[in-house]
């Protein structure tokens, strides 16, 4: 935790800012949300690391998808991810978003969430404990340091592919594409 090393702040304030103030939007889909309250209250205080639950995706930079993703919920997840401001990180919580988990053969769940939205980090475990969240957070810090937490860049570069996958899974989407095709930057 290099939070109070001043030189780092001076060199890369944005990166340090993002590391130590991860405002999280919890997308309580499946069974994972049970693990979140204990992590932010007295016993495992997440706020020590600067992680704070916020109400709307506009104010957040960490997107925590906890639990299995049904086809219907995918629509809301995509919408929320697109409404978050640009340097944003998404973390899949539990085994279900990774590869479908125990619902691997269910007709109604999404198996590989990162086919539809970019995921920066995964937390394995069929409902990992709160400590796992903090491990993920520290892991995310290192990713941010090494500029590897570039989910939002991948989303912008390969938006066409993501969009195609989304339309393939969900049929028609009610909102226009986030990046119109000419912004290839």
């Amino acid at each position: 935790m290099d939070r109070n090393q001043l030189i780092k702040w001076l060199k890369a304030p944005a990166k340090m800012g993002h590391k130590y103030s991860l405002h999280a939007v919890y997308f309580c889909t499946g069974c994972g949300i049970i693990e979140v309250p204990p992590s932010i209250t007295a016993r495992w205080d997440a706020e020590r690391f600067g992680v704070l639950p916020v109400a709307t995706p506009r104010q957040a930079n960490l997107f925590l998808i906890t639990g299995y993703v049904s086809v219907k919920t995918l629509r809301a997840i995509i919408r929320t991810y697109e409404q978050m401001p640009e340097p944003k990180y998404s973390v899949g919580f539990g085994s279900c978003p990774i590869n479908g988990g125990m619902y691997w053969d269910s007709y109604n769940t999404i198996k590989h969430l990162d086919k539809y939205i970019p995921i920066d980090g995964w937390i394995a475990g069929c409902m990992p404990r709160p400590e796992a969240i903090f491990v993920a957070v520290t892991h995310l810090w290192t990713l941010i340091d090494k500029d590897m937490a570039d989910g939002y860049k991948r989303y912008r570069d390969h938006y066409q592919a993501y969009r195609a996958n989304q339309e393939h899974a969900l049929g028609k989407l009610e909102w226009p594409p986030l990046f119109s095709n000419e912004t290839k930057s």
């Binding site: 970019p118 991948r154 390969h158 996958n165 393939h168 969900l170 049929g171």
Partner: protein
């Protein structure tokens, strides 16, 4: 056992078997033509709460078994003074090829969502049902998912697997 109700049922309908399932349940099986009249009789005798309609797919015997679960909704009727409430499980079976049945809405309005669900997941068409539109599922399915002959693994492999990965992971694979 509430004999007056049992006798009334057996006398009214032929081809009806009544046997106690376990401590406070009675299971009644009747043929599909007499189901509605049985339901209305039971309703007039205090069983005014249709708890659930569900369906069992006996694929070998090529029949669907519709199960109506009724209970007495806070009814302090003379039938139940001596012991706590008993639930009635009413079963009937219909052919599997072209599953067709009449809707129970005229007797129990709250049957509407149950029948919609059964229609969506088993493909049983209920005449007289106001709107048999999809309730839970996002996508269209050729064979309704809850049927035994629906192979989920094959469905998953030919719907979700062809979707390619994106970015670095795609070229790695």
């Amino acid at each position: 056992m509430k004999d007056p109700l049992k006798d009334k049922l057996t006398s009214a309908f032929d081809g009806i078997q009544i046997q106690p399932a376990d401590r406070n349940q009675i299971s009644i099986t009747a043929n599909k033509e007499s189901i509605l009249s049985v339901l209305s009789l039971l309703k007039s005798n205090g069983y005014n709460h249709l708890a659930l309609i569900s369906c069992v797919d006996w694929i070998e015997e090529k029949r669907f078994e519709l199960v109506y679960i009724l209970s007495a909704y806070m009814e302090k009727d003379k039938h139940f003074t001596d012991m706590e409430k008993t639930n009635i499980i009413l079963k009937t079976s219909i052919y599997r090829e072209k599953p067709q049945f009449i809707s129970a809405i005229p007797i129990f309005e709250n049957a509407e969502p149950y029948e919609r669900e059964i229609h969506e997941l088993y493909g049983i068409h209920f005449e007289g049902h106001p709107r048999l539109t999809p309730l839970f599922l996002e996508r269209e399915y050729k064979t309704p998912p809850f049927r035994k002959d629906f192979d989920t693994r094959k469905y998953v492999s030919d719907v979700f697997d062809p979707i390619p990965f994106v970015g670095k992971k795609a070229d790695k694979r």
